[in-house]
Symmetry: C2
């Protein structure tokens, strides 16, 4: 057979990096071995990071037995015209060039027969930790069938649970370039950390001991912490995990830097791999210090531990920064019901999990339901949690008079504050200790609920396909009830994971599958529907437009003792943003400014619940905004007759939605 490898390496270096296992196989099979550097070609001819057309040509060039190559080339060119014709002749020509380069740039590598003799040790023999080094990579390399049952029993996997903290250790090195921190230009604002979709850039404050124990690469590249006397003596560092970074460049784009000089720039990953040692030390061994800066603002949040790290999302994903943020704010208490879709895939492409635990072994517990019942699924988690809290309460009340004085006092304090997670967490260690040592046997039943002493923060998460369409019936019913759950809708306005079908969240004029000539109907106003119940906490947020508003909305939603829903505007590769995914924060600013996606919070605890968090939209910029995205700007090509009307309708519907907000403001003033 023939083996083709797309790689940036060549010559000696290539042979060095190729695993012995692969070399041995190539030699045993007497394979022909070719390489191509499609990444470099794509970049050099102006195709960015799109290598598919190039590699398609390579495939057919190497397989004339499937189809005569000249004929294949003819067909591929026809396909190019069909697929890209509407985008213009220049795009067509570019793809023709890519095809030719894909055939031309192949290089053969000699397979050395000596490779046959290499000894390859099995994963099992190599494993230090049976779970992480044997179980996980066996599945990841499609060899799960050969795992013995004993591995499952020994690792407590029989009920389908998986352990946390896998994705960070995968270190897949998928980026070709990663950011580098230039401390002299850094104002320590934390913005790079805040926008990162993968939690692979983090900010740290280090005390003396932590500096002393640090590897040299950290020790030798530290800044003095800025922020006044309280941080005097602490060192500051931005740490990138190059092996986990996907190179989306968002942090670089968003970096404010100092007088025009950015504190981050992209460099070849091969020059940065040694930074991994710094990441392993800081991410996993140094304390996350949240007591120096308020965690209601971007800087303070940048020091919080993300309990959601290295998701397998697209580079520049608009969803994951929200997910990462919510994990920073509530991670140790989270119980998550996740609908199927992008968020379930990047959260847990089994056996990989993006959720991790902290030094107290606390962190999110996550489960995935199929679309339709995800809201109910999370609602059930709430009911189960209520039941457990009630059981603890009952046991404590039944035995209260039989308790020793200190225990009685602590139980009283706990019962008075059972729903206050902070107090419950404070009380817990001593409470459990005293219960274990109590002479009252009845109270020991509480020990069955050790992990349930602190109330849970229930999060129901999914995309618009789930929330607006498939799971909407249940979501609506959960909203109409009064239980304390938090719903996070990652709204990409399209079925992202399945390849871009229109959802009820898609806006008028947007092109999508099932709406090939532009969607005709209005975007469903999910947040407005939720507000009409009057007892639901509701927010629309767009991180790029107002990061502090997002933090505020998440905190308010979580603290509200009733149903909350946050609709988070999430740019997506399906939008075809012309300025690139690394501009997605800027896109959000514009979306809000032009009225495409207004941001606001509706808090039923307030006398005037609704607060609009953006200026009155400037609708004159609406059309410019949407035409920056392929989903809209192809409209004049595919539907010339109605394009204008559809875009005008789209704007008017946006006006109507904002107008409804103003109407609610007026109503609440009147009703006071």
């Amino acid at each position: 057979g023939t083996f083709l490898l797309n790689t940036t390496f060549e010559g000696e270096e290539l042979i060095k990096y190729l695993p012995n296992k692969v070399k041995k196989l190539l030699a045993l099979k007497k394979a022909k071995f070719y390489v191509i550097n499609a990444t470099k070609i794509a970049e050099s001819i102006g195709m960015g990071n799109r290598t598919n057309t190039i590699l398609q040509a390579s495939f057919f060039k190497l397989n004339p037995s499937i189809l005569d190559f000249d004929l294949a080339m003819e067909y591929m060119k026809e396909a190019v015209v069909k697929a890209y014709g509407k985008k213009g002749q220049d795009v067509v020509e570019l793809n023709f060039l890519a095809l030719e380069e894909g055939a031309r740039a192949l290089k053969e590598v000699k397979v050395d027969p000596k490779w046959q003799e290499y000894e390859v040790r099995s994963l099992k023999e190599e494993a230090k930790d049976e779970y992480y080094d044997y179980y996980i990579p066996s599945i990841a390399s499609l060899d799960g069938n050969n795992l013995p049952v004993s591995v499952f029993t020994r690792n407590g996997l029989l009920d389908g649970t998986h352990k946390n903290g896998v994705s960070y250790n995968e270190k897949r090195c998928t980026a070709s370039e990663v950011p580098v921190w230039l401390k002299e230009n850094c104002i320590q604002c934390g913005r790079c950390v805040f926008v990162c979709p993968h939690a692979t850039i983090r900010a740290f404050l280090l005390d003396e001991d932590e500096v002393a124990n640090a590897p040299d690469i950290v020790k030798n590249d530290l800044a003095d912490a800025l922020g006044g006397p309280s941080v005097k003596g602490l060192k500051y560092r931005i740490q990138i995990s190059p092996e986990n970074c996907v190179g989306c460049k968002l942090c670089v784009v968003e970096c404010l830097g100092k007088v025009g000089k950015k504190a981050l720039e992209m460099r070849d990953i091969n020059t940065q791999l040694e930074q991994g040692v710094g990441a392993d030390y800081l991410y996993k061994k140094v304390s996350y210090k949240t007591n120096y800066f308020p965690t209601t603002a971007v800087k303070g949040v940048s020091f919080m531990r993300p309990y959601f790290e290295v998701p397998g999302a697209c580079a520049g994903c608009g969803e994951t920064p929200y997910y990462r943020l919510v994990s920073q704010l509530f991670g140790p208490d989270m119980l998550i019901a996740n609908a199927t879709g992008c968020s379930s895939i990047y959260s847990a492409a089994a056996p990989s999990t993006v959720f991790c635990t902290d030094e107290n072994n606390e962190g999110p517990a996550w489960a995935n339901s199929l679309f339709e019942d995800n809201a109910e699924y999370g609602f059930g988690m709430r009911m189960a949690t209520n039941f457990k809290l009630y059981a603890i309460r009952r046991i404590m009340l039944e035995n209260l008079e039989k308790l020793e004085p200190e225990l009685k006092m602590l139980v009283g304090r706990y019962l008075d504050n059972q729903s206050d997670k902070k107090i419950a967490r404070e009380v817990r260690p001593r409470l459990l200790e005293l219960i274990e040592n109590s002479s009252c046997e009845g109270i020991k039943e509480v020990l069955n609920y050790k992990e349930d002493i602190v109330d849970k923060s229930i999060w129901i998460v999914g995309g618009d396909g789930w929330a607006y369409d498939i799971g909407y019936g249940g979501l609506d019913h959960v909203l109409a009830n009064r239980e304390n759950v938090n719903i996070l809708v990652l709204d990409t306005e399209v079925y992202s994971n399945t390849g871009g079908q229109a959802s009820k969240a898609s806006q008028t004029g947007a092109i999508a599958k099932f709406a090939a000539s532009g969607k005709k109907t209005a975007k469903k106003d999910l947040a407005a529907l939720a507000m009409s119940y009057k007892h639901v906490y509701v927010a629309q947020v767009a991180m790029g437009a107002n990061p502090v508003q997002v933090i505020k909305a998440f905190r308010e939603a979580e603290s509200y003792d009733g149903p909350s829903i946050i609709v988070a505007y999430s740019p997506c590769i399906e939008h075809g943003i012309k300025s690139g995914m690394d501009s997605h924060q800027e896109v959000q600013r514009k979306a809000v400014a032009c009225g495409y996606f207004p941001i606001y919070r509706y808090d039923p605890r307030k006398e005037e619940p609704l607060e609009i968090d953006c200026k009155e939209p400037d609708y004159d910029t609406f059309r410019d905004f949407v035409l920056n995205e392929t989903r809209f700007n192809q409209l004049p090509n595919v539907n010339p007759e109605n394009a204008d009307e559809l875009l005008e309708n789209s704007k008017n519907y946006a006006k109507d939605r904002y107008d409804n907000l103003v109407n609610i403001l007026n109503q609440q003033k009147r009703n006071r």
Copy 2:
């Protein structure tokens, strides 16, 4: 054993009316036989038509072996206090009296041993029509198990379909009083017919032949038709079907009459049974004349054939007048998907069906889905219909050039107007005749679609439990699409059929199961949600408030080539209307006037789609309105602390809903 019969008959008359089958059984079993006239007792002590407490006492009086009667009485009285205590001491005393009367008024009837010798012929022997006289009554009398399979095969029942037109023939004689027509006071407005929940009072215009062929009871009681020269020579008659009427009295209450004299009054049913002959003649043999008065108004509609007749609904049901009306307007073309709930029960308590066919053998086809997928079920009917229409189109186009001239012309006319049911129906007979006789073999494939030549009018019907709650996810998705379906929501604001659980349609402050201390959250505004899509025809209607608006909304919805939804306010026994169910039309007027349920129509075909069909509400009457219903007026008793606030909220939420309408009016002016 002991047999207790609750009956208004006694003595000789009782024996006369008792079927031989029953008498024979009593004699064979040597049963003890008691009668009681609980209806009369209830009326005389002031309990209206509530006989349950009385009969409960009778039961225990006759069964001391179950429980010593004195003890049973003690328990029953305790239960009375528990159930009615909150309604006041007078209600408690009344129920005590009912218990005593129930025990006291029992009369024993002698069972004559000679009854044993009566010959009773089986249903099968008696049957003229195997389906109606044998199959149906066997099931109705719980003897279905003894039906031979041959009955099913012979009657084409193997696929689960049932034949139409059963309920009218049941003639269950459940009323004790029925209306009588007093022609001298009648202004022939048709209002009585329009409000009838059971289609058991109808208006007819008779020509000379029809008068000549009429039974005497009709012939001798006719008025000259009013309405100018066009109806000159025609006779007018209001015909009641006493055996099917349930005696709800709505027609009498709503009768306008002449200068204070009503044209209808209630009389003992036993004096009216002979009117059944008139009903059988007029309902089933005389033509329904719709060409003399416009069928856009109440009078014209009163002459239209109801294709929905004698439903097993409660006396005074607020839902069935809408269902009857929609069947009058679109019956021959209707394909109905009915969600489970009251409407599915009263429409088809198998084997009984309320739907009937006309002289052309046309009428509604009806099927019941369980709640959750009813909207999708109807959507599927639409897709299937589209598919068939498309198939006809394809066959016709493929063969067009091979057709004879007249057929070609007719096919052309049909194809040009395929979605126009009137034209398609006109063309159909000759079209099919010519196709049958055509020399073109290809065109004959159309004959497979004989029943599909005329497009169908798809109706998706259900209550608020389905539409707002259980089936809402699917309903929303059907609305968001653009297929031509019509959705009728019979909104009783509560789960009626299952005994009064709160739904998302329940209004704030209403007491219901699961909302025992008054519902706290706002009524979900289903119509507003539908309007927010912009492409959905939406109406809220309340028959009592504006009958012409209801007719208009139904016609507009049906004619709109896209999804339509009508939310119809439907008073229900679960509301506990203090003025009685026979006041339900007046209740609707008040509901609209006070802002509790505004009526309007939103037609996307219009430049300014929304039209509000009621005056600005007078919110000062809101509280009086709701306090006329037990669901609200118990609130100060069961929840004294919050009653005031809840009712105030309820009013404010009503204001918000109306305010939203005004907001939409303003938006559409701006967007023009």
